[in-house]
Symmetry: C3
Subunit: 119 residues, 3 copies
């Protein structure tokens, strides 16, 4: 833990997935909440998307952070804010495009989570 | 908010992602529950999937609607039903294929959700 | 129900998606908790991922099982353990790579879940 999934619309050529993953994982390490090696992050680019009912002019980046149950709302707020800050700092967003940046914190039930490491 | 993700198996050439996104977003606008510009939707097509243990003859479309906490069960039921209706109305499903259409409503914790808009 | 999503990093050529789906679905059938035809599973391979802050040497497979609300923690633990066992048994993981295998159980609210079958 945790799992981070960063989803984004494909009309953001400025979005560099590798750079984003490093910046976001560094923010998670810096939070002090997680073991470095446990942070598993990925990006997903959507070729088919729609914001509202306007086919053009809009974009989004949506980060989902999934953590085990048991943390306070305050810790979760701090985590989502730090990820949002990292997203904002990461790139110069294009003019003429309305970009929504969002961070969601999900909880994974601790009791039924199963994990092992090999290698 | 909200976020909508429509997943579907790749054995549905009848499924038109752009058309589906517009129909579903229009249903969400019509619900009166959301600001039009806040509706962020995407489709994901799965090339690798399996329904039960039968390698052929089955397909699925699964819509996940993620909304902030605080709405009643009745509102959530109305939302999922309207999305299911839109999926059903959207296309002539193929003969000889068993297609499961599903809609799930997820909740995102309001207190820890972080968002900003740029541009 | 249920929905199973198996995510994995793209540095695992040993991971055979079709074989994994069959092994995992068979485990779910064997659990006695689900109707065979209701088990809808898919895999997603991530070309862009990062485990911690180390760009190489690490991999992951993460299975998400989504079931309707109402099952006990014990049943959920049995389900996640059986899926983890199936993942472990499935392939010879590569030497020199640290692979994390994880299984998460999510709940879908029963009252607002909508579903139909066509064909």
């Amino acid at each position: 833990m945790p799992h981070l999934t960063v989803e984004y619309s494909n009309n953001l050529p400025q979005f560099e997935a590798d750079k984003a993953l490093m910046a976001l994982n560094q923010a998670l390490v810096a939070s002090g909440q997680f073991e470095e090696i446990g942070i598993k992050s990925r990006t997903v680019r959507f070729d088919k998307f729609l914001v509202g009912t306007a086919p053009t002019g809009r974009a989004f980046v949506h980060a989902k952070l999934a953590i085990l149950t048991g943390r306070t709302v305050e810790i979760k707020q701090t985590l989502s804010k730090s990820l949002l800050d990292a997203l904002q700092a990461m790139c110069v967003w294009p003019a003429g495009l309305q970009v929504q940046l969002c961070v969601e914190v999900q909880e994974i039930e601790r009791e039924s989570y199963a994990k092992t490491s090999v290698g």
